[in-house]
Point group: C2
Chain length 351, copies 2
DNA sequence: CTGAAAGCGCTTACAG
DNA sequence: CTGAAAGCGCTTACAG
């Protein structure tokens, strides 16, 4: 092969390709490809010359071009659709997924959906267009059937935290109903009958399940559901705080609060603290709070195993990417209550 | 053009390409490309037929193939290297970068470096191999000169939170020295002379700058630096907690603590709380704590504007991607102290 | 052990 | 308004 000088090659002054490396080392691009991919069957002096050229040119293989031609067509990327990359639950999930992806040599696109169905669809489309090998999704849209087509055409999808709607697909979720029931029963056991429920957006399945768990626990305890104590669709800590302030102003206020999501719990704690009732009104929250161990009294929380949630979802996805076509699986992880103080404040019926 | 039936096309049962759409609608792939890209100059009946075929086949354009051929070669992706996607500082930065990227129709790869230089290099290489259009990096490695080659070959890089070492490049950072000085001077002003310093890993430039700010403040106040009160290289809340426990056991313990990073602050608060000294020993922290408003007393914090840090870095990156070749710029944002309680606990020399 | 040709899915640069 | 040919950077499938 005709050999080129470094200057001649450099004159192109765009990112070097295998062609440039080939020209500089005087071999064909097929040989460069062999060396770059560490394939056997290249004489050591040629390999050395090629390697030297890659170093001299700072050659970087183009993985997307490579995957375009490759048989499997894998891009070594996956996509992750979260509620909001910056919230503690989402970002813990993100890290768990990343750790599994790294073991597979795969990098991850992450994006925030903000509970907006259009954004879920747009982001999924953007990632499919970039040929991610698969998607892990915390679903928001009222319906995930649109993903059936993507899956059929080769992009596997695994759902986490919430099950998909109108689509049979792998998912990993927490047993929200049982967790919420446990949390509410814990309050009943500590002598509370007037237990308020604070809920996130009812469009979110986990929020509905936690409400069901609350209702279920009251039913089992033979307590009537008091509609005046139920505040759902709270979207922010501020709204939750206002809701609790209203509840406290009731003629017959609650003696305990079941706060079914972490931001909602924060709002409830603020309202109680401002009212000076944080040692009087019991609280059980759902989902861990950052720095909860610094709070006084400590907050009793029903906790999800977020890292396991993310790790299992990612592992399921990689099995699908590897070709697993078995029927969709559903994994349900338990939520566990940890007593820290606020949940053990005794109520009027404490024994 | 010879028209194919849906069954004939579907028989390939792999992800449909423009070729498939072309076959089904009886046109050339160039015409499909025109329709898919919304280019003008296609008769409406042909456009309609092509569109119908894309819908029937669930055709999804392959953006990576498109960008491979395209002149600009942009992949519409960027990479973000963070300390740990799941820590509050990193994930807030992530969200800010994502929001700017979204405006540009760009999706973002995010990854955790965990203060490991090798991981920084590996991740950067993995992203360059996937031809991200640019990189936003919180640098960890002792030297970023390796990125000069990537930049020269067409991948712009912007640094955030910490300046790059051995490389002239755009960066956005907080004025850590001034922030730490302000925080320390705040304690001096409230009557403290024995002020402990708790620091993160000294390999991190921000940790060193904050230490300098502390030293600077003592100097300005005419106070001697007491080496027994300086604890650096604390990597976790647990280590910080242990460090404060040791400090409290000193014959002449500190009356105030300057905790120069959020996890370190958490550890310090725990130690003081356990010792029952959280209303006695003053604390000023650097970097906000999640839920800090629920703590009692509230924690006085020197805060960075994380969202602005991320937004500016992302905007700088997109300018570079758009072709801006002006000299490297450095943006320094102020950190501002917010009084919340712990920083105003009076010391023995309070006036 | 090495290379020329073809092709991955798309767009460019033409031609008609 | 539409299409045939070439090519982006790489790998496959051959041939020698």
């Amino acid at each position: 092969m005709e050999r080129m000088s470094l200057d001649e090659v450099d004159a192109r002054h765009s990112r070097p390709t295998m062609k440039d490396v080939a020209a500089l080392s005087g071999v064909s691009i097929k040989t460069v490809s062999r060396v770059v991919n560490g394939e056997a069957g290249v004489s050591s002096d040629v390999a050395e010359r090629v390697l030297a050229a890659t170093v001299k040119l700072d050659y970087r293989r183009d993985l997307s071009a490579s995957s375009l031609r490759r048989g499997d067509g894998k891009s070594q990327t996956i996509g992750l659709l979260l509620e909001d990359v910056s919230n503690p639950f989402s970002s813990a999930l993100h890290r768990a997924v990343e750790d599994v992806a790294r073991e597979h040599g795969v990098v991850v696109f992450a994006g925030s959906v903000d509970e907006d169905p259009d954004r879920e669809r747009d982001l999924a489309a953007a990632l499919v267009a970039r040929r991610t090998d698969g998607l892990v999704i915390v679903p928001t849209a009222p319906d995930q059937s649109y993903l059936a087509r993507e899956r059929r055409n080769g992009t596997p999808v695994v759902f986490v935290d919430r099950p998909p709607v109108q689509l049979e697909a792998d998912h990993v979720v927490t047993d929200n109903l049982a967790g919420a029931r446990d949390g509410t029963e814990h309050l009943v056991r500590h002598g509370h009958h007037r237990i308020a429920f604070l809920g996130d957006l009812s469009t979110i399945s986990t929020a509905r399940e936690r409400y069901e768990g609350y209702v279920d626990a009251l039913g089992r305890a033979g307590l009537a559901l008091a509609p005046d104590l139920v505040r759902r669709d709270l979207r922010t800590a501020e709204q939750a705080q206002a809701a609790v302030e209203e509840l406290l102003a009731l003629p017959d206020p609650p003696t305990a609060v079941f706060a079914s999501q972490n931001l909602v719990t924060v709002g409830a704690l603020r309202a109680l603290r401002h009212a000076g009732l944080h040692r009087t009104v019991a609280v059980v929250g759902f989902d861990s709070l950052p720095m909860q161990d610094l709070l006084d009294p400590g907050v009793t929380i029903v906790e999800q195993d977020v890292r396991r949630l993310g790790a299992i979802a990612a592992e399921m996805l990689f099995q699908r990417i590897a070709g697993d076509t078995s029927p969709a699986r559903s994994v349900v992880l338990p939520a566990t209550l940890t007593e820290r103080g606020t949940g053990e404040i005794p109520g009027p019926f404490a024994s």
